[in-house]
Amino acid sequence: MFNSLTDRLQNTFAELRGKGRLTEDDINRAMREIRMALLEADVNYRVVKEFVARCKEKCLTSEVMDSLTPAQNVVKIVLDELTDLLGSTDSKLVLAQNRTPNVIMLVGLQGSGKTTAASKLAYLLKGQGRKPLLAACDTHRPAAADQLEALGKEIGVPVYRGDGRDAVQVATESIRYAVDHLNDIVIVDTAGRLQIDEEMMEEAVAIKRAVKPDQILMVVDAMTGQDIVNVVSEFANRVDFDGVIMSKLDGDARGGGALSVREVTGKPIKFASMGEKPDSLEVFHPDRMAKRILGMGDVVGIIEQAQKVADEKSLEDAERMLRAGFTMDDYLSQLQQIRKMGGIQKLAGMLGAREESVDEKQLVIIEAIIHSMSREERLKPKIINGMRRRRIAAGSGHSIQEVNMVLQQWGQMNKMMGKVRQLQQSGSSKKAMRGMSGMMRNMGIDPSMLGGMGGGKKRR
């Protein structure tokens, strides 16, 4: 069900191979695939309709119709159009220069992640040298103020609770408290509310009137479905907000709602909230979001994640590997690296691969087998003969076939490493460089295209 758009389109266009020229009907079929992909990503159906109509117009130009690779051209058009729609990277908070304290107010539905976002925002601002104060104006949900206080304590940001009864009063008092305690920015966390709850919407408006926030941010759950349009347009009408924080983007939701928000309200998505930790509020990248919505994987995201995990030692290791070859220990540490990055399944998900196609258990087996090798064997796997194989198999509790498989995989990797070494030694051979950069470019567009280019459907 969650095939990437490229796969879907490739299937559609594969049937048309040898036809010479695409007709409008063919494009219509491609558009239907795009429509389904967007709907699966929870983009609002009205937005989808307009979007698809716009894309179709662009696709009907002769460039696409006559091209040898119509599928890729169509995907590119859709991707560009989508990135365009999602807007530029605009994660700046617009705060009045001559006002102390500045005020940021957070609104949203119940359970969208306002309180968590408030503490993350405070952490971010604190890192920028500000002195934030958190105001606990959620006086409705039991223990919401306790939650904010606990989070505030973790990140070392004070929390103003007041008497915890009247949200408007707590908000007003928090400003005064901030002035007295030299806090230069106040983040007002409000209660979650349904957009059709008249009383609660009144309260939000009253808080807004009382504290006159520099910025109002709406927290939107990335998993929200079609209803997001009703929610954001009502909030935009009543409270009016300046930007959106997309929460729970660390899950595997496609987050098509981001597109709907842009289309319906024109407000920018300012931040992406990616997890439970206080530092997981990130700048929003429209291009990555576009790929995610289309199920095309987030290659840049993976690279960044890898960079986060990779430390000095790994760099040294890489150099040593190039110098002295790839040992079993290297293989093992690579596996552990994958683990650190959130498991193979998360990586595969980011790459847009089907999740069933990768097996986490395989990693465990490989690890067990390598652990059963002696130090010498790990450094020089070539010495592993039949006797040793049998011993390793018995020691790790796996079959000799599985041991052979691990050795084979190591052999392939070692070969690859050798090629890289050759490349390096022969200086920067221009031809090889071109080949590499071409490959990188392809990966940047879409990793699964590589599989498609080979003709067969490789999915690993």
Binding site: G113, M223, G225
Partner: protein
């Protein structure tokens, strides 16, 4: 306001949209089918289900020579209702019973536990709440406030304690005092975080093993505003924990909760309760046909 009324109010947007299709012109033509599919999609039923249901109905219309849209209304409600899996029992009334509530962050697990405890206490059922959400800040405090409101005791430990051992304590205490209904709240987690899912599997396994005196059910709480990702969520949770059923919350907004239909159908899970409002009585039993009739605007 009665249950049906509040449900209808909550579902009004999609009902209006569907009614519009059925009344406009009344003639069944290509536009009608396209609009119908869109409306189902708008209810978060998913493109695939929507097109399947539409195709089925289209066949039926051709077979039975139905040319007027209003006649298809009841047929659609029945068609949709048939997608749901009926519940074989009710873990909240088939006592004694121990229920674990799982789900992603912010789905409404704690609130649901609070409401169900209040209802059970009102019905005179000896009930006990277990607070196994030892991760989220102030989750224990929130549960304790609910416990106080419902006059039901809460067994828990300090923040950061092992949730599985909390469950152990809860069952101990429940057996000691002879509680007939045990409701255990767990920490919300995204289905994509493998480690947290394993932790939850351990919690569930410990509870299942320890709790010999009563059947243990695992219920997934899902927010009605959830889109297509809800299916992924349910699949992952089901795979890790072997779910018994669902509770759909926050149906009092404009969200339609159509994803519940997709989940119930695909994973064969019944829906035990739906939340249609803020008060304890707004957590109601689920009736597929009623739900679908309200969705398509039957009897308006």
């Amino acid at each position: 306001m009665g249950f049906m009324d509040s449900l209808k109010k909550g579902l009004s947007r999609s009902r209006e949209a569907i009614s519009e299709i059925f009344y406009m012109g009344g003639e069944v033509d290509e536009d009608f089918w396209e609009d119908l599919e869109d409306t189902l999609v708008m209810g978060d039923m998913g493109g695939e289900v929507a097109s399947r249901v539409t195709d089925d109905l289209r066949e039926q219309a051709a077979r039975e020579n139905i040319t007027r849209a209003p006649q298809l209304r009841e047929a659609l409600a029945k068609r949709l209702a048939a997608e749901f899996v009926p519940a074989k029992g009710d873990p909240f009334t088939d006592l004694p019973s121990c229920v674990l509530f799982v789900g992603i962050n912010g789905a409404g697990k704690t609130t649901t536990v609070g409401k169900l405890a209040g209802k059970a206490h009102g019905d005179g059922v000896p009930c006990l709440i277990g607070g196994a959400d030892t991760f989220r800040a102030a989750a224990i405090e929130q549960l304790q406030v609910w416990g106080k409101r419902a006059s039901v005791d809460v067994v828990t430990r300090e923040r950061g304690a092992d949730p599985a051992s909390v469950c152990y304590d809860v069952i101990d205490e429940a057996e000691r005092r002879g509680a007939r209904l045990v409701l255990i709240d767990t920490a919300g987690r995204l289905h994509t975080s493998a480690d947290l899912m394993r932790e939850l599997a351990k919690v569930v396994n410990v509870t299942r093993k320890r709790c010999a005196s009563m059947p243990v059910s695992v219920v997934l709480v899902i927010d009605a505003t959830t889109g297509q990702n809800g299916l992924n969520q349910a699949k992952e949770f089901n795979q890790a924990l072997d779910l018994d059923g669902l509770i759909v919350t926050k149906l009092d907004g404009t969200a339609k909760g159509g994803i519940a239909l997709a989940i119930s159908h695909q994973l064969g899970l019944p829906i035990f309760r739906i939340g249609v409002g803020e008060t304890i009585d707004d957590l109601q039993s689920f009736d597929a046909l009623e739900f679908c009739r309200a969705l398509v605007g039957e009897g308006m």
